[in-house]
Amino acid sequence: MITISAAFAEPESIVSERKSAQPLAFRAFRDTLFGPSETETGGKRLAKAAVEARHVTKAFGDGPERVLALDNVSVEIRENEFFTLLGPSGCGKTTLLRLIAGFDHPTNGSILLNGEDISHLPPFKRPVNTVFQSYALFPHMSVADNIGFGLEMQGKPKAEVAKAVDDMLRLVRMEELKNRKTSQISGGQQQRVALARALAPHPKVLLLDEPLSALDLKLRKEMQIELKRLQNETGITFVFVTHDQEEALTMSDRIAVMSAGHILQVGSPREIYDRPSERFVANFIGDTNLMEVEVVSVSNGRARLRFASGAETEADMPEGMSEAKSVTVVVRPEHAQLAGTGDNGVLSGQLENVVYFGTDTHYHVRLDEGVLFTVRAQNVRGGAEERQPGARTDIVFSELAVQVLRD
């Protein structure tokens, strides 16, 4: 939470390194496993919906105990996408996943798979597989039997199942543990078996229910990279559920932020982080500075805003808010700087606290209007001189750093 930028820079760079190192080999491997993917042979990525939820409501219980786990949720998940449902526990993300898997059925609305309504199909009739939070490996079967279970249930011939199991074991790098019982392997290995088991039947969509939450930090980082690699190699649509914003930012193509049974915002990690549309999204992902500002004027969707300090800036106004007299804006700590000498500050205040984090330093500034504002600065050798708490300081940020929230 503290060092988002540093934390997600690392695994991503490793992923891209690997991709660039042997893209052809990986593609060939994927093609032998799953056949060339349609979107690739088509020459460009098609933004077709793999999974679609249409006005889905799910209620549990009756009468006064009735709880709405999902309240009129609509979302489109594209083909070949790594799509993440992100939110705190109880926000409905797992419920939505279970509706897609077929363990539960929507109270209202429908779930579509490749345009076909599957709302009332049982799980065993849906070309969708799940990686469970607890892995749910069959304890009485070997690793290989677990992985082959889905294909066996589909009635595939023995030889084909055996071959697919070997391919899967190679894909998750577990060849040597083939005949172990699942109780005899470590948590990280169980995780890989669970993945292989769900991937073996070549599902259209792979659902992952907080699959990394039981792993320790180091293993979790490894598995994040591993998952991304698997998604690249298999070209299967991944729907990933997590409450860990860092995980979501590093792995996803797109993220849906959920809260209290609603989807608040859907977008790429960058959009979600840089352009949060709601207070909840801004707060849930990363650190934020929230400020009430006055709206001076609005024209063509651009607003002139005035800070309490008197400084003015321009920002995009969310739709339907042109009447607002005051709005809340977000400025990310790393998008602002302490003003050097000669800069014209946007805000000014007194430096209250300086926290050194190694890679960066956080400056907590008490603004003159009383609000605490955090500025994060990357540490560089031979950089600016150390600031002392108690000093007066100005804060600068560009217009681009200001994001207006829809309230």
């Binding site: 607890s134 304890p139 249930m153």
Partner: protein, 323 residues
């Protein structure tokens, strides 16, 4: 942050280990062994006095000569063991198999096996039903299962008799509806014994089945469905293998007492359809042949042991035996 976490947990765990080591006095191996024996001693004493002792007496009696008015004469004889299987004609001394005994053995094994199967067929869905109820209602359902234990076995058996006898409830209803013209003879048949024993021993199947099903992780079942298993396949490939310890325990708890059942076959079998328990009782009572009764008892014991060993051999070797 993670490093800090690792360090703290590292500290606590070492601290705990130290604490435990300090709490235990330094025991030598001999002390430890003595301690273990002292702990199991009470159970061993009870077992020796109440199980092994009487068993030994029964074994010795089976090799003695029957007394004229019951009891035994202290004179060695293999006659009782001979009579368990063979029959000597009283007029011409020709040897033959003791058909009566063998058919009773066979009936006992057959009815006990069928009782076990029926108890499983009825007990499995029941246990599954209870295990899938919300937790707060499970206690109530289990309580209902145990209610029959509150009434004496004899009374429950007579109650069944009332239901199935010629002018009993079932026949009265069927006659009244005009479904049948003559009452169906149910009492004093194998069917009656089977019905009674299934009823009596059903809870002994349900309880261990429930115990293992309650521990069943239903996410495994969801995982099976997710991997294209139909409901039947999920049952066969996931549920049954995982609850196998419960199935084994339940089957043993039903099969073993069924084999030695006495009251149920006596009341519902009407004295014509004997089972091993009745045959043994006969030898100690009217038959006045205690050694034969003793030999039959030991035979029963052997049948049970052989059956159990075969059962455990065949089920234990396949997947999930150790559950």
């Amino acid at each position: 942050m993670a490093e800090a976490d690792a360090q703290t947990t590292g500290h606590t765990s070492t601290g705990r280990a130290d604490g435990r080591a300090a709490a235990l006095p330094n025991l030598t191996r001999r002390d430890e062994v003595r301690r273990k024996w002292l702990l199991v001693a009470p159970a061993l004493v009870v077992l020796a006095l109440a199980a092994s002792g009487p068993l030994l007496i029964v074994l010795v009696y089976s090799f003695l000569t029957p007394g004229n008015y019951g009891g035994v004469v202290w004179e060695f004889s293999g006659e009782a063991w001979f009579k368990v299987v063979f029959h000597r004609d009283i007029f011409d001394d020709t040897l033959g198999f003791a058909d009566a005994h063998l058919s009773i053995f066979w009936r006992s094994v057959k009815l006990s096996f069928l009782t076990t199967v029926l108890a499983f067929i009825f007990g499995f869905p029941t246990a599954y039903f209870i295990a899938t109820r919300p937790e707060k209602y499970r206690g109530l359902w289990l309580f209902l299962i145990t209610i029959p234990f509150w009434t004496n076995l004899l009374i429950r058996t007579f109650a069944i008799m009332e239901v199935i006898r010629a002018d009993g409830v079932i026949n009265q209803i069927l006659l009244g509806l005009g479904v049948i013209e003559q009452p169906i003879q149910m009492l004093a048949t194998d069917f009656a014994i089977l019905l009674g024993m299934t009823y009596v021993y059903l809870p002994l199947m349900v309880l261990p089945l429930y115990a293992s099903m309650e521990k069943l992780d239903f996410r495994l079942v969801e995982a099976a469905y997710d991997l294209y298993a139909t409901r039947f396949q999920a049952l066969k490939r996931v549920i049954i293998p995982t609850v196998k310890p419960g199935i084994i325990a339940g089957s043993i708890l039903v099969f073993v007492p069924s084999l030695g059942a006495y009251v149920t076959p006596r009341v519902l079998g009407g004295g014509k359809h004997l089972m091993l328990g009745n045959l043994i009782e006969l030898q100690f009572g009217q038959g006045r042949n205690w050694p034969l009764g003793a030999a039959l008892s030991i035979t029963l014991l052997l049948i049970v042991m052989v059956a159990l060993l075969t059962y455990i051999r065949t089920t234990g070797n396949s997947e999930g035996g150790h559950g």
